[in-house]
Amino acid sequence: MKKTGARMVVEALAIEGVKCVYGIPGGSVIPLYDALYDAPFAHILMRHEQAAAHAADGYARASGKPGVCICTSGPGFTNILTGLATAFMDSVPLVAISGQVATRLIGTDAFQESDTFGSSLPAVKHSFLVRSVEELPSALKGAFEIAVSGRPGPVLVDLPVDIQKAEGEFIYPEHTLYGNGRLKMQTDLSRADEAAALLRGAERPVILAGGGILSSGASAFLLRLAEKCGIPVATTLMGKGAFPEDHPLSLGMAGMHGTPWANLALSEADVLFAVGTRFSDRTTGRLDCFAKDAAVIHGDIDEAEFDKIVPCRVHLLGDAKAILGTVTEELGECSRGEWAATVERWKEEYPLSDPGSADFVPSSVLESVRAEAKDKWPVVADVGQNQMWTALFYRTNEPGTFFTSGGLGTMGYALPAAMGASLARNRTPVLCFAGDGGFLMNCQELETCARYGIPVKIFVLNNGALGMVRQWQELFWNERYSGTTPLSPCRFAALAEALGVPGHTCTSMVELEGLLPDMLATPGPALVDCRIPREELILPMVPAGAALKDFLYRVKV
């Protein structure tokens, strides 16, 4: 039976098992929205296309399935581009469907025309510009296959409006013609024995676990390897949750705002087993000092990451489960008492909490929310100081319960991503931590949250400043607070109420603790404006360009 291009999209999404899509209509997607009107899955009307992409991103991270977002041509697409770039940097599978002007108008500077295909290229894993309705089924199937295969990422399908209206035969392929070669799913674990030998002989081994562990679902494999051989595990920001942070072998997060013991362990390691990580500059610090005495084993699904940043002794190409499983098989049991004792000593020497500071500080806020919340509730952190406070003080024990924009560092990510994460997990409550700066970058989504009653519990760590930059200015730029402070006091509770979300303001721990039980138990969204001190810094900190071991631990008496 013949179908329109728009119907084909809806059918394809249904076949792919999509539960909800996020988007905003516009002139070039009216036929598609007509087909969505009676689609067997939900469409969540967002208030900004960037937020639609972040919501799909949060959905994808929380479900492990591709998130889908829809936008119109021109500005709809340019808005969504930030979300695509965010997903690309963090290897999140998305399928974005953008409307395009009619094929006969492409290239004529038509109303709301932009070079979507061209401008998407550096921000996506792959792009399709569909030029005929006959190409559409295979492009859609290809988009879903490419998004999840190998190293996941966003895929764009640019769909001119006339093709949405055109009719054609709809035969949705079970697979595209793409073989494993085209989907980049090679495996080479031939040197697993060398990796195992290095780990066996190591005196001070460390595992660095990246986001690849989470996208592969390899946390159990990581735990088995670490426990079998007594190897401490540090994670990257993207890897947070890959290893339970309350586990004795956990070093927590490494990097610029990593724990002292993770950074010291990486600096002192003699063998480093890095899995599913691309050695971001925020993780490595000064490169020539990073794991400088260590033989590095690098396991990743993307061979282009090998030797890109850190030259490695052994490469293991493949899925993290296969990498960890194979190496574990090759290893016998062992323990390393002396190394474990050294790590313990560092943990005692450099505790994370800051007993000398004021009452209403981010660490206390995070710890008290954590005490009240359930371990399984996802936590989404925005970008900046709030992100690093959350990463350090909200210990994560379950894989897939911490999400943030790690690579691109997109402020405004947290609220829409938290909404997507909640919808992916049957409307489970999701905790959203954001600063006042980042929150205002997508605060319009409070309205969306209210309209659908999505239980996102928002904590705005409000210091009335663009705090991370302010911190750099305080520490490294002679306290010249250019463009960061003071900001006018924004009443977030009133903003939330105006958009239909219950809003609260707290200025002390007592107030917050009084509020939390009810706020977390009540269905639907809620916001708390936490008025934290402007001067609060996120420490420890490795200054940009410094070695990991040279972290600032305390800067004030």
Binding site: L121, R131, Y178, R182, K184, A304, D307
Partner: protein, 157 residues
């Protein structure tokens, strides 16, 4: 230092944009590039010359391999290859220059594609360095303009 990379891709929209964009944003210096058809219908071949050593070539190869359309990609400099560029040279020589010009050109493989007496065009094919050498030696002999293509290359293995 330069390395030559051979890429076979499926023909498709935007493949050239993808390759050039990828090289540009990853900071590879592309010093020459050609695109053309192969013996297999639907397959295109790109030849890139990039500045850098074996390690950088390896990085470029692995980045290009990630493209969905890439069928094969190899660092041709690693295993040896035949590499050829084309060059066209246009002259408007004086009679004295004309004589000297033909004398110099004897040293290089070439043919005369067009000769109108007052102006003439030579065509040449050969390794890039040989063509560069030729160009240096004919400057000052009435050279009007020249154009050299990027390389075509096939691995010898």
């Amino acid at each position: 230092m330069e390395r030559t990379i051979g890429v076979v891709t499926e023909e498709g929209r935007g493949v050239f944009s993808r390759i050039s964009g990828l090289m540009e944003r990853r900071g590879f210096q592309v010093r020459g590039v050609t695109a053309g058809a192969t013996q297999r219908p639907g397959m295109a071949r790109y030849t890139l010359v990039i500045g850098g050593d074996e390690r950088q070539a390896g990085q470029a190869v692995r980045q290009i391999r990630k493209m969905v359309e890439t069928v094969t990609v190899e660092d041709l400099s690693a295993g040896g290859c035949v590499e050829r560029c084309m060059m066209l040279l246009k002259f408007a020589p004086s009679p004295e220059e004309r004589e000297a010009l033909f004398e110099v050109m004897k040293g290089y493989p070439h043919s005369v594609s067009e000769d109108r007496g007052s102006s003439l065009i030579f065509e040449m094919m050969g390794p890039g360095v040989l063509l560069d050498d030729c160009l240096e030696n004919v400057r000052g002999l009435g050279l009007v303009e020249s154009v050299k293509s990027g390389p075509l290359a096939l691995g010898t293995n």
